[in-house]
Every structure is written in structure tokens, then in C-alpha cells.
């Protein structure tokens, strides 16, 4: 059996070598099809990844917990004015949640910051030190306040780039300087690195960070918290973390079975899936177009195999008369079709890789070649060869040797 297949492969190879030009032209459809599938998928995958990275840079694992809308005597209340989120809720999450890497309470206020003759309207965020880990944010200079400073409600602050630029206009070092925010003095212990605009056009550097205890007591004079900000241990665990938070908070806040939550949990997941689904759709579209060219390539193979069978009718008759069985003839032509499509596939993969490198190098588009795109397009090629080679091969094998021998 092995020698038989080997012999048939040799015969098929010879037929291909004897018709180099024709084989090459036949392959062209497959080559273009495979190359475009690979290049298109690489572009699609690359753009998906770059969107993902962009969202990740703003903290894709980030989860926000806010008080929910509630009714007070039939009047629906503005959630941001709710005072229902307490430090106990934060502490419960801190202790019980297993899918959260970091968690911080957050209170914020806006006001005027002043340094000598300079002043600047900005916002102050009261948080704990984990805030920087959640936001994936670094300090450019100095250090973050500590948990001890949070406990003691120390009047220390870390300022964003925009605030630094506006309060320290002559380029002096802000570290160690005192500023005032709404007339409360803060000692600057750190400067945040530049983060730029958020995807929603907000200047993220226009901010002052201080211990939440300090902001609660000195600036806002409140004992509740406005928001809890947390991050899941990984992007994959974000949805699980959201569910976990709900469970913990419902228990903590004594919400029974069928009552609605009086809080809201938001993750970036939906944002990611919105962006991803857009680029996913683009990828599907690109692949659909590329698949059509693969299909046309397959029809090209079928066409040429038909011509080949017709042309070689006498040869088939001769082979049968000297003892070739129907299966031998079938396999010979099938192998020929598969060889054409598979070698077209190999060339297509090489071309697809080169095209991808070209796109990356000259157009600067992000591209990622996934192994599945190579495997799938290659498999499709082999299947195309079998599928479109089968019918002509079957026709050849069913020829009557006497008729075939006399065919003109």
C-alpha cells in the first residue's frame, strides 16, 4: 500500500512538473486566497489587540461601585447624592473578595488650589495608596502617601502634571512644597507621571490625590464614601469579580432574595466587548472576502483537473489496460489536485507572512499572525483540493478502458 501511494505520488508529481506553467496559474487562486486570509486575520487580530491594549492602559480590570438609585417616600433620588456607601462596605470587600487585586474607597470634590500667586481650579480625589495600582499609574517624582498617613488623615497630597504645571510655573520642584486646596494646606509629597487625555476627552492629569480620610474630614465633612474603585486580579476574572462584589455587598447590606441591589457595579468589560465586537465584525468581513477567493481558487483547480482528465483520456485508457485499477486512477488525479492545492497553500502562507511583514513595516499597522489562521487556511486548502479534485478524479476512474483507449 505504501509503495502504491508512493508510486502514485510520483506519477502525479511528474504530471505537475510536465505542466509547470499551467500548475502555477492554477495555484495562483489558492496562493492569493491563503495569503489574503492570513494577512487579513493578522490585521484584524492586530487591531483587536491594539484596542485591547489601549483599554488596558486605562485599567481594563477596573471596577467601579457606586450607590444605586433609591426611592425616598416615592421620590427617586440622584444616585450621586446618595450617602448609602459606607466604609464598612469597603472593608467587607477588602476582607472577603478573592477575585479583587486592589480596592480603594474614593471621595472627590472640586475647588481651587493655590500656591502663592498661582491658583488653579481642579478636583481632589480621596483614595488609598492602592489607587495607583488600579489605575496603572506611576509617580514621576517623590512618593505616594502611605496607609499610616491614611489612618492619621495626614494633610499630604500627590499632584497630577496639569496641576503641577499650573501651580509651579517657573519650573521649581513641587516636592515638599505646601499648597492649599479650598484653604486647607497640603504638603506635596509626589508628582504623578503624565497620563494624558482619557478616551472620553477628559484631562486625567488635572487631579490632586490625597488620603480619603483627609478629604472626607477636612474638605467634604462627610463620613460616607462616594465610590469604591477596585481591580480584578485579571481581565478574565473581571466578570467573576463583579458577581462576587454583588454577593458580598448584598450580604453586607442585608438585601434579601428578590430585592433589587441598592448599588451599581460597573466594569470595563462592556466597553472592551463593544470595541472587540466591532473589530471582530471587521475580521469576519475580511475573512469572508478572503474565503471567497479561496473558493474561486478551488474552482480553478476543479476546472484544470477536468481539462487534465479530458486531455489524458488515452493515457488513462492505457494505464487501465496495463493493469491500473479504478482506485489507482482516482488516487492519481486526487493526489495531483491535493499537491497543487497544498503547494499553493505553502506558497500562500509564505506570501501571507511577507505581506503581513510589509504591512507592519511600511504602513505601521499593528498585525498579529495567529497560528490558527495558518492552520485553518492550510486545512481549507487541503480540503479544497480533495473536494474539487474528487469529482474529476472520480470521472477519470469510471472511464471504460476500451472507450478511453480509442478516444481521439
Amino acid at each position: 500500500m505504501k509503495t502504491r501511494i508512493l508510486n502514485l505520488i510520483k506519477i502525479a508529481l511528474k504530471a505537475i512538473v510536465l505542466n509547470k506553467m499551467r500548475t502555477l496559474l492554477t495555484m495562483l487562486g489558492i496562493i492569493i486566497g491563503v495569503a489574503s486570509v492570513i494577512a487579513m486575520l493578522a490585521i484584524g487580530e492586530g487591531s483587536k489587540q491594539s484596542i485591547r491594549d489601549e483599554i488596558s492602559s486605562m485599567g481594563s480590570n477596573m471596577i467601579n461601585i457606586r450607590p444605586g438609585a433609591d426611592m425616598r417616600g416615592g421620590v427617586r433620588m440622584n444616585p450621586s447624592e446618595m450617602q448609602s456607601l459606607k466604609l464598612k462596605d469597603y472593608e467587607a470587600l477588602k476582607e472577603e473578595a478573592s477575585l479583587l487585586a486592589y480596592v480603594t474607597p474614593q471621595v472627590s470634590g472640586s475647588g481651587q488650589s493655590i500656591n502663592g500667586a498661582n491658583n488653579w481650579p481642579t478636583s481632589i480625589y480621596g483614595v488609598n495608596p492602592e489607587y495607583l495600582d488600579i489605575k496603572i499609574w506611576d509617580l514621576q517624582d517623590g512618593s505616594m502617601f502611605t496607609n499610616a498617613e491614611v489612618r492619621s488623615a495626614a494633610k499630604v497630597a500627590v499632584i497630577g502634571q496639569t496641576v503641577a504645571e499650573n501651580l509651579f510655573t517657573n519650573g521649581e520642584d513641587p516636592i515638599g512644597k505646601m499648597i492649599r486646596f479650598n484653604s486647607i494646606p497640603f504638603k506635596i509629597i509626589g508628582v504623578l507621571s503624565e497620563k494624558g487625555e482619557s478616551n472620553f476627552g477628559q484631562d486625567q492629569d488635572d487631579v490632586i490625590l490625597a488620603p480619603y480620610t483627609t478629604v472626607q474630614k477636612r474638605i467634604l465633612a462627610i463620613d460616607y464614601i462616594q465610590t469604591i474603585v477596585a481591580s480584578a486580579i485579571s481581565e478574565e476574572d473581571a466578570q467573576g469579580a463583579v458577581d462576587e462584589i454583588s454577593t458580598i455587598l448584598r450580604k453586607q447590606r442585608d438585601i434579601s432574595g428578590n430585592e433589587d441591589d441598592d448599588f451599581n457595579v460597573f466594569s470595563m468589560d462592556e466597553l472592551i466587548s463593544t470595541f472587540s465586537s466591532t473589530s471582530e465584525m471587521l475580521t469576519v468581513l475580511l475573512v469572508a472576502i478572503a474565503s471567497i477567493s479561496l473558493l474561486i481558487g478551488g474552482i480553478g483547480i476543479m476546472n484544470i483537473m477536468y481539462v487534465s482528465v479530458k486531455e489524458r483520456t488515452r493515457e488513462i485508457g492505457l494505464r487501465m489496460s496495463v493493469g491500473a485499477k479504478g482506485a489507482d486512477i482516482l488516487l492519481q488525479f486526487l493526489i495531483e489536485a491535493i499537491l497543487i492545492s497544498v503547494s499553493g497553500g505553502i506558497i500562500g502562507v509564505i506570501l501571507g507572512f511577507s505581506a503581513t511583514l510589509f504591512i507592519k513595516g511600511f504602513l505601521g499597522w499593528p498585525t498579529i499572525i495567529t497560528s490558527y489562521s495558518v492552520i485553518v487556511s492550510f486545512a481549507v486548502c487541503a480540503v479544497t483540493g480533495i473536494f474539487f479534485g474528487w469529482y474529476p478524479a472520480r470521472k477519470a476512474s469510471a472511464l471504460d478502458p476500451i472507450t478511453a483507449l480509442r478516444y481521439e
Binding site: R4, I11, L18, L318, S321, V322, G323, L405
Partner: protein, 232 residues
């Protein structure tokens, strides 16, 4: 090697014995093509039976017929039917490719031996386009010999050749027959039939004559007797 018996073609009965050189003659429509197809296991008789080398052929399916053709029959055609752009040696190897019991070394060795037997030992790598008609027919004869068949079937094997080349080919057939090969040769040329030991004439599906030829013409002698100007 046994006898080959045919009961076909409207009550035709024919035995071809081992070592015989039989010519089958008849005009077109006489049934000689059908007879050749049946002898060659390309076709089965609708009734009656045919035995080759002791094997009853009637009950065999397509694949089994292919195996019989592969192992027991050598075909030679009027139009040579060589594979184009394929060397002489590869053409001769062809029947053995479909026999899994033969290794590629054995195949090559036997193909070379067959080509040497027909006098083309020097032209193993020539393609049909590089060979004359007579040489091409010699390659075809080598191909029919390579599987060591029980019978060689030639269908108008000299039909495309000039007189001199025909005699050369007939001389080769006589030589093969002397070495013990059984040959059935279909032709419509009476002078070709003179070179065989037995002539069967068909007409309208019946054998009208089946004679042993006692006065066999020697093709080599006829060849030598041809006038020189015939040579080109």
C-alpha cells in the same frame, strides 16, 4: 501455463496454446476487435466463457480484471500509446508500477532487460518524440514483455509502419515467439499473417478459417531481400 478457451462471438470457439503465434484476420465489423477485447480482459463475453492461464474470467469484477491484465497480458497498440514526454525506460516500467509485489529496483532491472531484448538498450532515456515510429513500437513491445505475460496481444501493431519497419517488427515478434512467447496478432494484411504459425479468419462474428501455417515466412529473410532503395 494452460489453454485459453473462448466461446464467444456467435458460437466462436478458439484455443490458443502456449508458444503459439496466431494471427487473427478479418475486415472491420468481423468481430476481431471484440475478440481482442475479450482476449485482453478489457471486456467480458455476454454469454459463454473465457479462461486465461486456467483462470475463468467471466466471474471477475473490474479490479480483478485489472489484476489479470497486469500480470498475464501484454498489450501492443497500432498507435504505440506511449506516454508523451516520458522516457522509454519509464514507459516500459508502467505496468509494473501497478504491481505492488515488485520493488522499484526489480522494476528498473526488468525494464532495462526488456528494452535490451527489443534492441533499445542504448536509448533508455529517450522520449517518444526522440524516437522513430519503429523504435516507438519497440518500446511498446518492451512494455508488453516487462510483466512476463502469458500472452502478448498486438492490435494492428504494424499498421502505422512502412514495409521495412513492419518486417523488422515482425522479425522481432518471430524471435520472441522462438523464445517461447505466446502471441495473438490482429491484422488485416495477408502478408503479415504469413509470418505466423496459425491464421484465424473472422467474418461476421464467425470463424470462417482456422489454419495451421506449415510454410512460415521468415521476416529476417524478407527484410534482407528488400531492395536497397526501399531503405529510406
Amino acid at each position: 501455463m494452460g489453454d485459453e478457451i473462448v466461446h464467444a462471438l456467435k458460437g466462436v470457439s478458439l484455443d490458443i496454446h502456449e508458444g503459439e503465434f496466431v494471427t487473427i484476420m478479418g475486415s472491420s465489423g468481423s468481430g476481431k476487435s471484440t475478440m481482442l477485447n475479450i482476449l485482453g480482459c478489457l471486456d467480458s463475453p455476454s454469454s459463454g466463457s473465457y479462461h486465461i492461464d486456467g483462470v475463468p474470467v467471466n466471474s471477475l469484477n473490474r479490479n480483478e480484471l485489472a489484476t489479470i491484465r497486469n500480470e498475464k497480458i501484454g498489450f501492443i497498440f497500432q498507435a504505440y500509446n506511449l506516454l508523451p514526454r516520458t522516457t522509454a525506460i519509464e514507459n516500459v516500467e508502467l505496468p509494473l508500477i501497478y504491481n505492488n509485489k515488485i520493488s522499484s529496483e526489480e522494476r528498473h532491472r526488468r525494464a532495462v532487460a526488456a528494452l535490451e531484448m527489443v534492441g533499445l538498450g542504448e536509448r533508455l532515456d529517450h522520449t517518444p518524440a526522440q524516437l522513430s515510429g519503429g523504435q516507438q513500437q519497440r518500446v511498446a513491445i518492451a512494455r508488453s514483455l516487462v510483466n512476463d505475460p502469458v500472452i502478448i496481444l498486438a492490435d494492428e501493431a504494424t499498421g502505422n509502419l512502412d514495409t521495412r519497419t513492419s518486417y523488422e517488427i515482425m522479425s522481432l515478434f518471430q524471435e520472441l515467439n522462438r523464445k517461447g512467447k505466446t502471441i495473438a496478432f490482429v491484422t488485416h494484411e495477408p502478408d503479415i499473417a504469413e509470418f505466423s504459425g496459425r491464421t484465424v479468419i473472422l467474418k461476421d462474428g464467425h470463424i470462417i478459417k482456422d489454419d495451421i501455417n506449415t510454410d512460415i515466412n521468415d521476416a529476417a529473410r524478407e527484410l534482407a531481400a528488400l531492395p536497397k532503395e526501399d531503405h529510406e
